[in-house]
Amino acid sequence: MTAHDIVIVGGGPAGMAAAVAAYDSGVTDVVILDREDSVGGILRQCIHNGFGLHKLGRELTGPEYADVYRKEVEKRGIKIYCETMVTAVSTDRVVTARNRQGIMKIQAGAVVLAMGCRERSRGALNISGTRPAGVYSAGTAQKLINCEGYMVGKKVVILGSGDIGLIMARRMSFEGAKVEAVCEIMPYSGGLTRNIVQCLEDYGIPLYLSTTVAEIHGQKRVEGVTIAEVDENRRVKEETKRYIPCDTLLLSCGLIPENELTRSAGIPIDPITSGALVDENRETATPGIFACGNVLQVHDLVDYVSDEAEIAGIGAANFVKNGAVTGETVATKPGNGVRYVLPQRVHTDKGNDVALFMRVTQPFGKVRFTVKSGDEVLATAVRLKAAPGEMEKIVVKSEKLALASEPITVSLEVL
């Protein structure tokens, strides 16, 4: 067994930003373990632009954004183990990993979980019909096209209007495929507005809301799909069924944080975010184990992943230097119109401002968010519109936070 101050599980944008932040907080013995053959995570296949506007003040492609962080990591001499997959993390912070050299066990001072997320599969969506070739999750198709250089289909239907689905609609069109339709089971898109405009509208690709793929046809390769409108309970309206011939179905129906390691370490998970329950330092309920990025909550922008990872990296460094953060925490809770609030608990007496992140339950026009503890209003924020696809952030000032003795609730009212 070897030992390192901080072990980071995952070398995507979250893991790299956490590593840099931890190092810059004074803990230099940091290692990154990544299962792929190079760092960068899913950014490596996101060759479109739109990354970095918030965080770096310029617009980059995914690989370029990853490269910015890779250089920062390398500049600091932070050791990266690629093709190294962590198979277990214990509550006493022993990390077990496997690579071509063998099995390594590392006693970590602190652990940062940054494994990212995966796409919901066809099976999890329970679409009935046959099981032919040509059904891909959008990210798998993206990898085959952008990283391997192969085309996956010629006539395409996309289910789900999440950002990856929208980006892939445009990407497939670029490469000569005909995207027949993007179907979204919800009455609104979960993707960013800019992607709907730039990836669908600019290419004349129809977006059908409240519409799903009811059946897949074709024995060996997809021959077509039956799409249909759904009612408010998301049940198919039989009379609206129609057949679209196609050879490919791409699925972009949500991302699931990959928390298998977290679960097997016995770390409690929030059923709404499907990520660990954390405090404002992104420390899980297990002391010294932190989480950040898409393994904690699915983000819409990588810029916010980097922000969150810096918090976790600094938290991990402080844990190594000073031990566990002591003191009472207050829970946060979603109120009216809010689906979840992260972090799920905060220390109120540390003299720091704390940013709360949340998603709303449905699209709204102009709203006011109110952060309250009992009758005490801790913060308010007005937004011209709010949508589930766009994460909201509200900062609670330290002096207000000190007043919170009861659970902190974030709710919204429509203005």
């Binding site: 599969s121 099976g123 009935s128 019909g129 070739a133 391997e148 897949i216 060996k220």
Partner: protein, 477 residues
């Protein structure tokens, strides 16, 4: 000229080849698909049935009773994963259902089944806490178990091939001609093979094969059964296989752990037009969820990772058909093998061999027959220390390709090389579990394709999901 030609490389054809491979015979399996275990074998409940169910006096009753222990013994020899987890047959409070439980118990005794007992609902719940409160009486079948049907078949065929048997995939039998020496069998592709004896193990297509020699005395009725498979998070919801007594609402929707640690629910039973009707339906999946919840209300169907449908080969007589062909000599039909066919597969193979012997097939034991097959899962069963040492010798085992099921490059390369070799993505999946987990191949599929391409010297664009017509890629950029 082969001594024995076997049409169909499912669990029956495969097990027959394995049992025959101990004799000094030239054997060839003819399989129309790109891989073995592609029909009913790859999509069924994977249950080793205790033997209480078949009508006493039938072939099913006899071969099920003999078959359970035979299956466990062969599975041990060829390293096919199984588990003796026992099964429950549950009544839900009505006098009729409770009477059925007692009837099945009596029938089991008559069939010579040991280890049967009747439990009250509370006794059953003490063993299986997730069982519904409504369960009032249970037949506990202690000799029952679970087995992975396609791994069993791969192992049996692998063992047969290691002992000299041959396998031709993509050989769709089109014509059978009786010759003086035996049979001349022509594939749709035009390929021809000849053999002295012929065994029809063509599953749902066995009536069509029978017709090729002029036998029309049975007709297969394809019945589809839909299933939902749940994440390993749900895998320990129950430890026994939970059946319901047959009722008007449905027949035999079960809730069962699988040998790989998932939870399986299903099947429905619907007559279908043809054996290729393996699509799932919203209605079918709805029935599975509803009836599974009747036995085990806490099953979390949000954890479904895949659903599938398999076609079983029934026949109106209700029993297995294992008999000499009527229109030609030296041919045996092994047909209508629906439940408990998997359980009985070794007994069925042995019974078919008796018939071949009665026709004059000489069975001379091979001197060098090897009854065992290398354990394909030896690596995953090692401790961390053993794995470490193994990886240092064989680095490819240190590279994990399938993160959900922790499958290494080394294990995938082995599956592509070892008998019977995997030729496609699904073939790798069934042998290694790569792509079988919660992401359903989302991450590992491109890697698996590369390994297939590399090992078989095949361009990426020609790699298929499951044989001709199922290429994953449509071209290079």
């Amino acid at each position: 000229m082969y001594d024995v030609l076997i049409v169909g490389a499912g669990v029956i054809g495969g097990m027959l080849a394995r049992q025959l491979s101990r004799y000094d015979l030239k054997i060839c399996m003819l399989e129309k698909e790109n891989d073995v275990a592609m029909g009913a074998t790859k999509a069924n409940s994977g249950i080793v049935h205790g033997g209480y169910d078949p009508e006493p006096g039938t072939l099913k009753a006899k071969l099920n009773a003999e078959g359970v222990q035979k299956l466990y013994d062969v599975a041990d020899e060829i390293h096919a994963p199984y588990r003796k987890n026992g099964s429950f047959v549950c009544a839900f409070g009505t006098p009729e259902e409770e009477a059925t439980v007692r009837e099945l118990y009596e029938r089991g005794l008559e069939n010579g089944i040991k280890g049967l007992e009747i439990l009250t609902g509370d006794e059953a719940r003490a063993l299986e806490p997730a069982l519904s409160d409504k369960v009032s009486l249970v037949l506990n079948v202690t000799n029952a178990g679970i087995v992975c049907p396609y791994e069993l078949t791969v192992a049996a065929i692998g063992n047969a091939m290691d002992n000299g048997a041959e396998l031709k995939v993509n050989f769709a039998v089109d014509q059978i001609e009786k010759t003086a020496e035996g049979f001349k069998v022509t594939a749709k592709s035009g390929e021809v093979v000849s053999g002295k004896y012929l065994v029809n193990c063509a599953g749902a297509y066995s009536d069509r094969v029978a017709q090729m020699v002029g036998d029309n005395f049975f007709t297969i009725i394809p019945r589809a059964g839909e299933y939902m498979l749940l994440d390993k998070n749900e895998g320990s919801r129950v430890s026994h296989t939970i059946f319901q007594v047959p009722s008007v609402e449905g027949k035999g929707i079960l809730v069962s752990p699988t040998v790989d640690g998932n939870l399986l629910t299903g099947p429905t039973a619907a007559k279908v037009e043809s054996p290729s009707c393996t699509e799932t339906t919203p209605e079918g999946l709805e029935i599975v969820a509803r009836l599974a919840a009747k036995s085990v209300p806490s099953v979390n169907f949000r954890q479904v990772i895949t659903s599938f449908s398999g076609v079983r080969s029934s026949e109106k007589g209700g029993d297995f058909i294992i008999c000499p062909a009527k229109s030609v000599e030296n041919m045996v039909h092994v047909a209508a093998i629906d439940s408990p066919g998997l359980t009985s597969c070794v007994a069925i193979a042995d019974y078919a061999i008796e018939q071949l012997q009665a026709m004059g097939l000489a069975l001379v034991q091979k001197a060098n027959w090897c009854p065992t097959r290398e354990n394909p899962h030896a690596f995953r069963e090692m401790s961390d220390e053993e794995k470490d040492a193994y990886i240092k010798e064989h680095p490819a085992y240190g590279k994990i390709v399938c993160r959900c099921e922790t499958v290494s490059e080394g294990e995938i390369r082995d599956a592509i090389r070892r008998n019977p070799p995997a030729h496609d993505i699904d073939g790798v999946k069934r042998r290694t579990r790569s792509g079988m987990g919660r992401c359903q191949g989302g991450f590992c599929m491109p890697y698996v394709m590369k390994l297939l391409s590399e090992e078989n010297g095949q361009p990426m664009e020609t790699i298929t999901k499951n044989g001709e017509g199922s290429a994953q890629l449509t071209g290079k950029l």
